[in-house]
C-alpha cells in the first residue's frame, strides 16, 4: 500500500528533479562557450528560458506536494517486485544484445517480462519469446534492409543478402 505520505514524498522527488534539471540547464548554459556571432539571438536564450521555467515549476510542484492536492489522494497500491524484475530484464538485454545476438537476448527479455507479470509457464514463455524474436530477426534482416545483431548464432544464420 502506497499511502498519501509516500505519495507526497514521490511528488517532492518530482519537484526536486524538475528544479534540479532547471538549475542544471541554467548552469550548463552559463558555462557554454559560444562563438561570437552577429545573430540577434544566440543559442543560449531558449535554454535560459526553459531552465528558468523548470526552476519555477519545480518550486510550484514542491508547494503542491506539501500543501496542495496530490494524485491518488486516497492512496494507490503498487507492487514493486515486478517493476524491479522488468527493469533488470531490460538492463540484461542491453548487456547481452550484441554478445548473444537479438534472438537469444530478445527471447530472454520476453521470458523475464512474462514471468514478472506472473506467468507460471517459464519454458513455454521462453519458447514463444525465441520464436517471436526469431520471426522479427528474419523479417528485419532478410525482408527489410535493417540489421539486428546475429551474435553467437551468426554461424547458423545465412548472411543477409
Amino acid at each position: 500500500m502506497t499511502t498519501g505520505r509516500s505519495l507526497r514524498i514521490g511528488e517532492s522527488v518530482l519537484g526536486l528533479c524538475v528544479l534540479g534539471l532547471g538549475l542544471f540547464i541554467a548552469l550548463q548554459t552559463f558555462r557554454m562557450k559560444v562563438a561570437p556571432i552577429h545573430a540577434a539571438v544566440g543559442p543560449r536564450l531558449f535554454p535560459y528560458l526553459i531552465g528558468a521555467g523548470l526552476i519555477v515549476l519545480g518550486i510550484l510542484v514542491l508547494r503542491e506536494a506539501w500543501f496542495g492536492r496530490i494524485a491518488h489522494a486516497e492512496g494507490v497500491e503498487l507492487d514493486w517486485p515486478p517493476v524491479g524484475i522488468i527493469a533488470a530484464g531490460l538492463v540484461l538485454q542491453m548487456l547481452l544484445l550484441e554478445r548473444l545476438g537479438w534472438i537469444l537476448a530478445g527471447g530472454l527479455l520476453f521470458m523475464v517480462v512474462a514471468r514478472a507479470f506472473g506467468s507460471p509457464r517459464v519454458h513455454l514463455d521462453a519458447a514463444l519469446g525465441l520464436v517471436l524474436a526469431g520471426l522479427i530477426f528474419v523479417l528485419f534482416n532478410y525482408g527489410l534492409d535493417l540489421r539486428l545483431p546475429a551474435g553467437i548464432l551468426a554461424p547458423l544464420l545465412a548472411p543477409a543478402g
Binding site: L14, V41, G42, H72, L78, F110, R147
Partner: protein, 497 residues
C-alpha cells in the same frame, strides 16, 4: 472546384493497388492496437518509423493515417467488453458501453460505436478536405512571428486541457522542451547539453521518448498494478443489429459528436479526450432519460465514439496545412515527415500534392474498410482480448526494444529508452500527463527556429511579436487559456470562504 479536382487526383493515387494494400495494412494494424490495451496509435507509428525508412512516403503516410483512424474504432471494443479503455479517447465510452455489455447489449453498443465512427469519420474527412486548403491560404499570411505564436498556443492548449493539474502538465511540457534542446543547434552549430556523448549530437530521437514513455513506462505501471486490477470480459451474444429504437436514439448523438469532435481536433486544443467528455455531457443534458446515463444509455456510446473519430480527422488539418501537431500521434507523424525530409505546410500542398491528397483520399477509403472490419468481423478482434497479459506486455517490450535499437543500431539508444521508461513510470504513478512532453519535444526546436528567424528579420527588435496583429491575437488566446482555470479556481475559493 479546385479542391474537388485535387481530391479526385488523390483518389487516383490512393486507389492504386499498392497504396490500397498499405491502407488495408494500416486500418488492420490500427484496429488491432486500438483493441489491445497498453499499445496505442502514437506508440505504433513510433515503432514503425524505423521500419518505414525505405518505404515510399505516400504509402507510409497512408498506413499511418489508417492506423490513427483504426485505433479509434478498435478502442471502443475494449472499452465496451472489458471496461478498460483501449485509448484515452474511449474512456467515456467505457461507462455506458460496459453497462450495456453487462445487460447483454454489448453487440448493440459495438454496432452504434462502429456505425457512429463511420458516419463521423466520413463527415469529418469531408470537412478536412475543405478546411485543410482554407488553412493553407491562412498559413500563407503567416511569417515566423505568427508561426512562433501559433506554436506557443498549441503548446499551451495541449498542456492546459490535459490532466487535472496545470503545474504537472507544464512540468511535462518543459521536460519535453528540455529534451528537445539536446544536440547541435541548427543555426549556429553549437553543441548543447550533449554531456560530451557523441551519440547525443544528433539530439534525442522522438521515437525513443515516445516508446519510452508509452511502452516501457506504461508496461512498468501495469506490472505494478496488475495484481490489483481484475478484468471481466463479456462475450457477445445475440443479434448485432440495431433495433429501430436504437437507430432513433443514436443518429442525433452521432451528428452532434461529429460537430464537437472535428473543430476541437482541428483547433490546436489537443487530443481526443475533450470532445468525448463534452459529447457525453451534452447528450446527458439533452436526453429525455438522463437517469439512464451510467446504466447503459446508447446515446452515451454513440456520441463520444463519433466525437473521437471526428477529432482524429480534425487533427489532420493543422498537421498537414501548418505542420502543427495537436496530439501525441500527430506529433509522431510530424517526426515521420521530418524523417523523409518533408515539411508539412503550404509548400507540401504545392510540391507534393500526390502525398497530401492521396492521404486524405485514403482516409475516406480507410473509413469504409474499417466499417467492414469492425462490424461483421468484430468477433475476430474480440479474440485478441484473450491474449494472456504476460505475453501481451512481454511482446510490447520486445517490439519497443527492437524499435529503439534499429533506429541507429546502437545500444546507447536502449540505455536512453530505459532511463526515459523509468521517468515515464514515475510520471504515470504521479499522474503527470505524457502527451505534453512528446509535443514539447517536437515543437520546441521548431518554435526556437521560428523565434530566431523572426528576430533575424526584424533585426533584433522583439516588438515583432506584438506589432503583428495575428501573432498578438494568438498570444492573447494562449494567455487566456492558461490563466482562465487559475482565475476560476481563485474566484471559487473566494466564494467558498
Amino acid at each position: 472546384m479546385e479542391t474537388l479536382a485535387a481530391l479526385g487526383h488523390g483518389f487516383a493515387v490512393a486507389l492504386t493497388p499498392y497504396n490500397l494494400l498499405w491502407a488495408l495494412v494500416g486500418v488492420t494494424v490500427g484496429t488491432a492496437v486500438g483493441v489491445l490495451p497498453g499499445i496505442g496509435p502514437a506508440l505504433t507509428v513510433a515503432l514503425l518509423l524505423p521500419v518505414t525508412y525505405n518505404l515510399d512516403p505516400t504509402a507510409a503516410f497512408i498506413m499511418f493515417g489508417g492506423i490513427y483512424y483504426g485505433a479509434m474504432y478498435g478502442s471502443s471494443t475494449t472499452s465496451i467488453l472489458l471496461n478498460t479503455p483501449g485509448e484515452s479517447g474511449s474512456i467515456v465510452t467505457a461507462i455506458d458501453g460496459h453497462a450495456m455489455a453487462r445487460q447483454g447489449r454489448g453487440a448493440q453498443a459495438l454496432a452504434t460505436a462502429a456505425i457512429g465512427s463511420f458516419i463521423a469519420g466520413t463527415i469529418a474527412t469531408i470537412a478536412l478536405t475543405f478546411v485543410a486548403p482554407a488553412m493553407v491560404r491562412l498559413a500563407l499570411l503567416f511569417g515566423p512571428a505568427e508561426y512562433f505564436a501559433l506554436m506557443v498556443l498549441a503548446l499551451t492548449t495541449v498542456t492546459a486541457v490535459l490532466g487535472n493539474s496545470l503545474v504537472r502538465g507544464l512540468s511535462s511540457l518543459f521536460l519535453g522542451l528540455a529534451l528537445g534542446l539536446v544536440g547541435i543547434d541548427l543555426q549556429t552549430g553549437q553543441a548543447r547539453f550533449t554531456l560530451g556523448i557523441p551519440e547525443l549530437l544528433d539530439g534525442i530521437d522522438t521515437v525513443i521518448v515516445a516508446v519510452g514513455l508509452f511502452a516501457v513506462g506504461e508496461t512498468l505501471y501495469v506490472a505494478a498494478r496488475s495484481r490489483y486490477e481484475t478484468e471481466e470480459l463479456y462475450a457477445l451474444r445475440g443479434s448485432i443489429w440495431l433495433s429501430r429504437e436504437d437507430w432513433a436514439r443514436s443518429w442525433k448523438p452521432w451528428l452532434r459528436g461529429t460537430a464537437l469532435g472535428f473543430p476541437i481536433g482541428a483547433l490546436p486544443a489537443g487530443g481526443t479526450e475533450i470532445p468525448t467528455f463534452l459529447s457525453y455531457l451534452l447528450e446527458k443534458r439533452l436526453s429525455k432519460r438522463p437517469e439512464e446515463f451510467g446504466k447503459g444509455a446508447i446515446e452515451a456510446v454513440a456520441g463520444p465514439e463519433a466525437a473521437n473519430n471526428a477529432s482524429v480527422a480534425g487533427t489532420m488539418a493543422p498537421l498537414l496545412a501548418l505542420g502543427l501537431p495537436t496530439s501525441a500521434t500527430a506529433a509522431i507523424m510530424l517526426a515521420a515527415f521530418q524523417q523523409y525530409g518533408l515539411q508539412p505546410g503550404p509548400l507540401l500542398f504545392e510540391s507534393n500534392p500526390g502525398l497530401v491528397w492521396g492521404l486524405i483520399a485514403s482516409l475516406y477509403i480507410g473509413n469504409a474498410l474499417l466499417l467492414v472490419l469492425n462490424l461483421p468481423l468484430v468477433g475476430l478482434w474480440v479474440r485478441l482480448l484473450t491474449i494472456p497479459k504476460p505475453w501481451l506486455y512481454a511482446g510490447i517490450l520486445l517490439f519497443a526494444t527492437m524499435g529503439a535499437y534499429t533506429l541507429n543500431n546502437n545500444v546507447f539508444d536502449l540505455i536512453l529508452l530505459w532511463v526515459i521508461g523509468l521517468i515515464g513510470f514515475g510520471m504515470r504513478v504521479l499522474e503527470v500527463p505524457v502527451a505534453p512532453c512528446i509535443v514539447g519535444l517536437i515543437l520546441g526546436p521548431l518554435a526556437e527556429q521560428q523565434f530566431r528567424r523572426a528576430l533575424a528579420i526584424s533585426q533584433g527588435d522583439p516588438s515583432v511579436f506584438v506589432t503583428h496583429p495575428l501573432a498578438l491575437l494568438l498570444f492573447a488566446i494562449a494567455a487566456v487559456l492558461l490563466l482562465t482555470p487559475a482565475v476560476l479556481r481563485y474566484r471559487q475559493r473566494r466564494l467558498a470562504s
